[in-house]
């Protein structure tokens, strides 16, 4: 045994093993002068060379077989009621499945018994299990495996007994019996009827594949293993409708739809997709996608991003491949057609045209673009069989490349769009002012009455919601009560469409309130998202049951609109883009059905605006490509709205027109096309008669936006002018309605902006005075309304401005104090809404700012400390958003600053400190 301690030599060993053999000796001459050590190292090297395949393959590889076989099975031979278990036949979603015989029966009837496995999270598993039992009990169809009975063992393990289906998987059956295409299609249609039946009973199978479709000796196919089926109706005894949504990812990747693989909402369309894969396989002998590994990520990428070959082309290709099961398979047209249609050419011709289109339609990546129901799918096949025209059409260019489901780069940033900044809180006012003002009655009295909340009846609540009190505390209370009510209602919703509609609308409205969109400021967006998600879940299930009728579509669009907006506001740009794409698809669908309808055009335009917003993101970290796409959407919206604006004096299309133009100008600005951006502003100016046609709030927004453009163009004089104009409007609004919180906050915000601009332009004292006043108003409002994060947001920026001014006045202790206050506010906001990366970015910047101030004050150790914290924060953000230009820029600035102070170790002023820039918070 060697007595040389390993830790002395390990580095040497690693190093020498990495060298080619002729270099080893000279290396060891240097590294191991002592002979004993060298001998030891050399013996290790020798061992390494002798090791060959030692540990070459993972240990599991050789042992799985025996491992699998040796597993003791406690259920074998067991008596379960009148049955005796004979063997295990498989692993279901939540437990094992056994074959059993009925012992007291002369016919020895065979059944399948499914049990929940013991162990992890039994409660969860039990609920799922009970739910599955419930589903199957409800499903009675000749082509679905029937539930016979259920029970529990002595030790409390629940099980249920099902019809035992002895048969072959669908694909094998078809091949073994050499069924023609027509026969296969007929068989497939039978399977479709089973799936359709399930959908009508609000059940989505989620794991349709040939192994789950067994065909018995009589040629009857049976759909089985609803083990991971998504239940759309709530379980009677436990959690509400919504909680059944949390499902473990249990499905077969090769048959799974893009949305399943990407963990996105599942609908009946997902089953249609899986059926499409099955059909593809029945027709061609192979699956639409080929994978080299079985890794979920790889499969998801292939399915989401590539297009399947059309069936008639797929059969023609000669292929030798190792399929997933490891077998070498030579597939030619001959072998495939041998089991299908007889002659190769005949097979190809049979498949091309309609059948190609039918299969591909089911396989479309966007759920809405597939067949609307299994029935429709099946009917199209029938039409084909009868020689009638089919619905399915060749896919048009615009949709072909699976744009919908593209993975978005990690470099999508947090939101905090211009429209959110406190000084542009006017945007909120503009978007929502109309609704808010009309519906937000002075209901304080009513609230105090308690009448609105007295009866627990949905319409009462709706009433209360409609005329919500202005005070945030009251609003909060109503929200809580309503939520409790809705959750309770979801228990009774069970399949009742009317109630489900009410529920969805209720959750949506609650979401609106939680997001505070009908009032000032940003509220609990996390909660709002949750509510929207619930609403969306319900909408989907309604769509599943009743298809895509117009009314439902419109409700969905309206919900998506709020949902997407909230997603954007909270920085969930990837999800927002996904949902916005759905919103657009639905809006286009409606527009198709109602081509000249004003509302549908508005919806379409709005969807484009949201797409633009989602694509263009935070601008500073959107690529040119993204910004260009965003601008395309903006322009589309403009195009859609232009005729409307000309036709009607109604302000709604005008608002939309303004919004899309402003967005266009914004995206242009972010893409640094300043001149073009300015032209858009000029166009707005002239079209609205110098803004006279616009409501006053809109005017203020215009000035605000344009001020930023001038800022970017370094034309501070014009920027200042526009800021002041905006402020003027804000003041006049305030004068007109001094109690209106929105007005107040906007006035304060504008005042602050004007103040800091003044200071930056050199008029420090007057600027500071304005800023101080603005902050005072903000503090007052926050004291009155502690729920309103929006005020904290304003103060956060205000304090940082003040810090900036004080720093320039060389009052460093005071500057530090202000920045620290800002930091406190930012931290509170970040805690409140963890999804908001923008506030975390602000926190990082504030630490950097503190560092700069300390540096200016020649307090170098403190400066270094702050910079370190800032750097750590930036690193964290970069990890989450690696390509975010804003973060990269700010992070680099901090690094540069750190480099400067690294050399400052005395209390004397240090070179480079004066040039350090104070980071500007996101505005």
């Amino acid at each position: 045994m060697p007595t040389i301690p390993w830790d002395q030599v390990r580095e040497v060993v690693d190093a020498v093993l990495g060298l080619p053999s002729d270099q080893r000796s000279p290396y060891l001459d240097q590294a191991c002068p002592q002979p004993a050590v060298r001998r030891y190292v050399e013996s290790l090297v020798l061992s390494y060379e002798q090791a060959g395949q030692f540990l070459g393959e993972p240990a599991l590889a050789g042992h799985v077989e025996s491992l699998a076989q040796s597993e003791p099975d406690s259920w074998q031979g067991r008596r379960v009621g009148p049955y005796q278990v004979t063997e295990e036949i498989g692993e279901g979603g939540m437990g094992s499945v056994y074959r059993a015989i009925r012992v007291d029966d002369q016919y020895q009837k065979q059944v399948a018994i499914k049990v929940v496995r013991s162990g992890f999270d039994t409660r969860f598993a039990l609920n799922r299990f009970k739910a599955e039992r419930q589903i199957l009990a409800n499903l009675e169809h000749p082509n679905i495996a029937r539930l016979l009975e259920g029970g529990s063992t002595e030790d409390g393990q629940p099980y249920f007994v099902m019809e035992y289906i002895q048969g072959q998987p669908l694909d094998q059956y078809c091949d073994n019996h050499k069924l023609t295409i027509t026969e296969r299609l007929r068989l497939f249609r039978t399977v479709c009827s089973a799936a359709q039946y399930a959908h009508q009973n609000l059940v989505i199978h989620r794991d349709i594949k040939p192994n789950n479709i067994l065909v018995n000796a009589d040629g009857v196919p049976k759909l089985l293993d609803f083990g991971i089926a998504k239940i759309l109706s709530p379980e009677s005894s436990t959690s509400p409708l919504i909680q059944t949504m949390t499902m473990v990812r249990l499905f077969t990747p090769e048959y799974a739809s893009p949305e399943q693989l990407l963990d996105e909402p599942i609908t009946t369309a997902s089953d249609i997709y899986s059926l499409g894969v099955v059909l593809y396989e029945l027709l061609t002998g192979e699956r639409p996608y080929r994978f080299t590994t079985r890794k979920p990520d790889e499969i998801a990428r292939v399915v989401a991003d590539t297009d399947p070959e059309k069936p008639s082309a797929a059969v023609v290709r000669v292929e030798e491949s190792n399929d997933i099961r490891g077998e070498s398979v030579q597939r030619t047209l001959e072998t495939v057609s041998g089991t299908r249609e007889g002659s190769p050419e005949k097979l190809r011709r049979r498949l091309s045209g309609d059948l190609d289109n039918i299969v591909l339609m089911a396989l479309r990546k966007e759920p809405q673009r597939r067949y609307a129901s299994v029935e429709q799918f099946s009917e199209d096949i029938r039409r084909h069989l009868e020689g009638l025209p089919v619905i399915a059409r060749t896919d048009t260019f615009g949709y072909r490349s699976g744009k919908f489901v593209k993975r978005h780069a990690a470099g999508v940033t947090a939101a905090a769009l211009v429209v959110l900044s406190l000084t542009v809180g006017l945007a909120f006012a503009l978007r929502e002012a109309k609704i808010a003002r009309e519906q937000r009655a002075r209901a304080e009295q009513r609230f105090n009455d308690g009448r609105a909340l007295a009866k627990s009846n949905l319409s009462e609540f709706q009433d209360a919601i409609q005329n919500l009190p202005g005070s945030a505390a009251a609003r909060h209370l109503v929200i809580q009560r309503t939520l409790a009510y809705l959750d309770k209602l979801s228990h009774d919703a069970a399949g009742d469409r009317e109630i489900m509609r009410e529920l969805a609308a209720g959750y949506q409205r609650i979401g609106d309130l939680q997001g505070n969109f009908s009032g000032p400021g940003i509220g609990d967006s996390g909660a709002a998202l949750e509510s929207y998600r619930k609403a969306w879940t319900i909408r989907e299930s309604l769509a599943a049951a009743s298809g895509h009728d117009l009314a439902e579509l419109k409700s969905e669009i309206s919900l998506l609109h709020s949902y997407v907006r909230t997603l954007l506001v909270t920085g969930n740009t990837r999800d927002a883009l996904r949902m916005a794409t759905q919103q657009l698809a639905l809006a286009e669908l409606v527009a198709q059905k109602q081509p000249n309808d004003r509302d549908s055009i508005m919806d379409e335009a709005r969807a484009h605006i949201q797409m633009g917003w989602a694509q263009g993101g935070n601008g500073s970290s959107s690529s040119t490509r993204q910004l260009t796409e965003a601008m395309q959407h903006d322009r589309q919206a403009i195009e859609l709205l232009t005729p409307l604006v000309n036709q009607s004096p109604d302000s709604t299309p005008l608002t939309g027109m303004l919004q899309s133009n402003l967005d266009l100008a914004y995206h242009l600005r972010k893409n640094r096309e300043f001149e073009t951006s300015l032209k858009v502003y000029d166009a707005i100016w002239s079209k609205t008669n110098g803004l006279q046609r616009l409501p006053i709030v809109a005017q203020a927004i215009f000035y605000n936006h344009r001020a930023r453009l001038f800022d970017d163009m370094a034309d501070y004089v014009r920027a200042d002018k526009d800021n002041r104009k905006s402020w003027e409007v804000a003041q006049s609004l305030l004068k007109a309605d001094p109690d209106d919180l929105v007005n107040k906050i906007n006035a304060a915000g504008n005042l602050g902006t004007v103040g800091i601009d003044e200071a930056r332009l050199g008029h420090v004292l007057t600027g500071k005075k304005k800023l101080d006043e603005a902050i005072k108003i903000g503090e007052q409002m926050l004291a009155d309304n502690p729920y309103e994060l929006f005020y904290k947001d304003l103060l956060l920026i205000g304090y940082s401005y003040r810090g900036e001014i004080l720093c320039s006045m060389k009052d460093f202790p005071a500057a530090l104090q202000q920045y620290n206050r800002s930091l406190t506010a930012a931290t509170e906001i970040a805690q409140h809404d963890p999804g908001d990366l923008e506030s975390r970015l602000n926190i990082a910047k504030l630490h950097a700012a503190l560092g700069v101030v300390h540096a200016r004050a020649a307090q170098y150790p403190e400066a270094k400390q702050e910079f370190n914290i800032a750097r750590d924060n930036f690193q964290e953000l970069l990890r989450l958003r690696p390509q975010d230009a804003e973060v990269i820029y700010a992070s680099k600035a901090t690094q540069d600053a750190m480099a400067v102070v690294a050399n400052c170790s005395t209390q004397r002023p240090c070179k480079g400190v004066r040039e350090m820039k104070l980071p500007k918070l996101n505005n």
């Binding site: 390990r10 990495g18 290790l44 061992s47 395949q53 240990a59 699998a68 949390t246 473990v248 077998e327």
Partner: protein, 189 residues
């Protein structure tokens, strides 16, 4: 609402990754159970002769157990646990089936032959495990790499995620660890 509600696997995973030994003790049997079952179901599904990829097994166990909570942050930690569990599973199996030859010199190899074919029953897992335990005494890091790679089937990239080391470092140290282990296990001249 109920603070006494049983913790989800994700919560346990998080707690154990932060050093909570109790949480780790709770998590382990669950992962163990899952991996074992998956192995069995794979064998039933796949055609004989197919080489099962350990990493796929681990991935699938991970997704099945964590479902929606699956994200990169707890994935690394999970893999670390899974590797330990695989080790335990295989060892329990090897021991209980008496295939193990005990003692030193259990690794049959000569200079010319490629050493161990994975299907050969001669691979004495028990001996390897014992040697690995000895390595753990003197070099925790390299031993962990071996555990992750050999028992967990993880690639160098995946290991680097778990251990926060560069893949270059991992490959280097893997070589050294192999040398050390083989040195321990080879028939003594």
């Amino acid at each position: 609402m109920a603070s006494a509600a049983p913790k989800t696997l994700t919560e346990l995973l998080l707690a154990s990754s932060q050093g909570d030994q109790n949480a780790l003790d709770e998590v382990m049997p669950v992962v163990y159970d899952e991996l074992r079952r998956l192995a069995r179901s794979y064998m039933r599904r796949e055609r004989p002769g197919h080489t099962l990829q350990t990493t796929v097994l681990v991935h699938e166990a991970y997704l099945r157990l964590l479902g929606q909570d699956a994200n990169w942050a707890n994935r690394s930690h999970f893999f670390g646990i899974a590797a330990k569990m695989m080790r335990r599973i295989l060892l329990d199996h090897a021991k209980s089936h008496g295939r193990a030859k005990r003692g030193g010199g259990a690794v049959k190899v000569t200079l010319d032959e490629p050493a161990i074919y994975s299907k050969a029953p001669d691979m004495d897992l028990v001996a390897v495990d014992e040697a690995l335990q000895r390595l753990e005494q003197v070099d925790q890091q390299r031993a962990q790499i071996v555990e992750l790679r050999f028992f967990g089937g993880l690639s160098a990239e995946e290991i680097s995620e778990v251990m926060n080391l560069s893949t270059a470092t991992i490959n280097r140290q893997w070589a050294g660890a192999r040398a050390w282990l083989y040195h321990e296990l080879k028939p003594k001249e």
